[in-house]
């Protein structure tokens, strides 16, 4: 009986949302607007050196983002020598593959990249709930029907967490921020051994 009770309690806590598990409290009627400004300037060529580790393999290249228009982005990855590995495009939520190296043309991989890059470029996701704990504030938004939590420190976006079943699945960290440019961006997957590090060049 006691075991059953513990099991139920455990199940309940396992089903809790990410903010509840982190001991955040919901803020009633919080009117929060989320802004991710890091790829929002269409005059800017966003060019980053990318270092990617997948399991024990590592490779690198140049990661390029251009905002072509409102809600319209182009995302290209090349080797240092300039060979294009993939060329993606987002128009709203519509995802288009302009080019991908045959060796990378795998549905699982493309879906991971699509979700990760959408979170990078989505400028004004619709805020759902807001939570607080001490000085911290996080705001929930759905991106491609997955829950994301935006961490805003002094109204500046420093972290996005994608969660599933209350657990942190993917973390996006933005640092070295000035003039709406993040010098360093890190995308860390918790459930698979994948880490993408971007450094502005």
């Amino acid at each position: 009986m006691r075991f059953l009770l513990i099991s139920i309690l455990f199940l309940l806590s396992a089903c809790g949302s990410y903010p509840k598990k982190q001991n955040f409290k919901e803020v009633a009627n919080a009117k929060v607007e989320i802004t991710n400004p890091y790829f929002s300037n269409s005059a800017e060529d966003y060019v980053y050196k990318a270092d990617i580790t997948v399991f024990k393999n590592s490779f690198s290249g140049i990661f390029i983002v251009k905002k072509l228009d409102k809600n319209h982005h182009r995302i290209v990855f090349t080797t240092e020598m300039g060979n294009k590995l993939f060329d993606f495009e987002f128009l709203q939520e519509i995802f288009k593959i302009n080019h991908i190296l045959q060796e990378m043309d795998k549905k699982v991989l493309i879906n991971i990249l699509k979700r990760d890059f959408f979170a990078l470029i989505k400028e004004n996701p619709l805020a759902a709930k807001t939570f607080t704990k001490d000085d911290l504030r996080i705001t929930e938004a759905d991106l491609l029907s997955k829950k994301h939590y935006y961490h805003l420190t002094n109204k500046q976006l420093t972290k996005i967490v994608r969660s599933a079943k209350g657990k942190e699945k993917v973390t996006f960290l933005f640092s070295g921020i000035s003039d709406n440019i993040a010098e360093a961006i890190e995308i860390v997957h918790q459930n698979i051994k994948l880490k993408i590090r971007l450094k502005k060049i």
Binding site: A43, D45, V47, K49, D51, S58, F59, S60, I62, I64, K66, L68, R74, V76, T78, E80, M81, G82, N83, K84, D87, N98, H99, I201
Partner: protein
């Protein structure tokens, strides 16, 4: 306006057969006597949707017949050494080897990258080749006949200076985006330490 178009198209005019053959033999005989090359390079990556080309600079080292090392210095430190069927990469101190033996495409690409350093790639079985004069320089266009390969690179353009040395290489993708490499401070047949090609 019409006049302007005419003059600009005349700035690059097609070579006749004897001029083309003279260039070929000049490039070939230079390639045969070239044991080593070092040069600085600037690489311009052009993507049509960007406002500016992405620029990087570095140093090329070549040792006959097919050792090539591209060492980027700015804006990041990265080098890639082509040796046998391997790519030896040094990414800001972190080393990585890629075996390309099983990948026909990469093998072809590497062979061409080695060949383009001296420019001796006049293989008419592999390429459709056309020859142009451009002021004092010559420009040769190579378009791969292999359809699979042509999906990656539509055309190679190589500019030769009056000494038949490669001064520029341009690799054009099917989308018309391209990588343009311009060489300078070229030194030929200087002694090159083995350490340059160590990994």
């Amino acid at each position: 306006m019409f006049f302007l178009i005419c003059t600009s198209s005349f700035a690059q005019s097609k070579m006749n057969d004897s001029e083309a053959s003279a260039l070929r033999s000049k490039v070939k005989s230079l390639a045969e006597t070239t044991k080593t090359i070092t040069a600085d390079f600037i690489q311009y990556k052009h993507l049509d949707f960007l406002s500016n080309d992405i620029e990087s600079t570095g140093k090329l080292s070549f040792k006959s017949p097919d050792l090539v090392k591209w060492a980027y210095v700015k804006p990041f430190e990265y080098s890639v050494l082509f040796k046998d069927d391997m790519l030896y990469i040094n990414n800001e101190g972190e080393k990585n080897n890629v075996d390309i033996g099983s990948n026909k495409l990469f093998k072809q690409l590497n062979k061409l990258i080695s060949a383009s350093v001296t420019g001796d790639m006049f293989n008419s079985e592999e390429f459709e080749i056309s020859y142009f004069e451009k002021k004092n320089d010559s420009e040769v266009h190579f378009s791969p006949k292999d359809k699979k390969f042509a999906k990656y690179i539509k055309e190679f353009h190589i500019v030769f200076n009056t000494n038949a040395e490669v001064s520029e290489v341009k690799m054009i993708e099917p989308s018309n985006d391209y990588t343009h490499i311009v060489f300078s401070n070229r030194l030929t047949n200087q002694k090159l330490s083995d350490a340059v090609f160590a990994h």
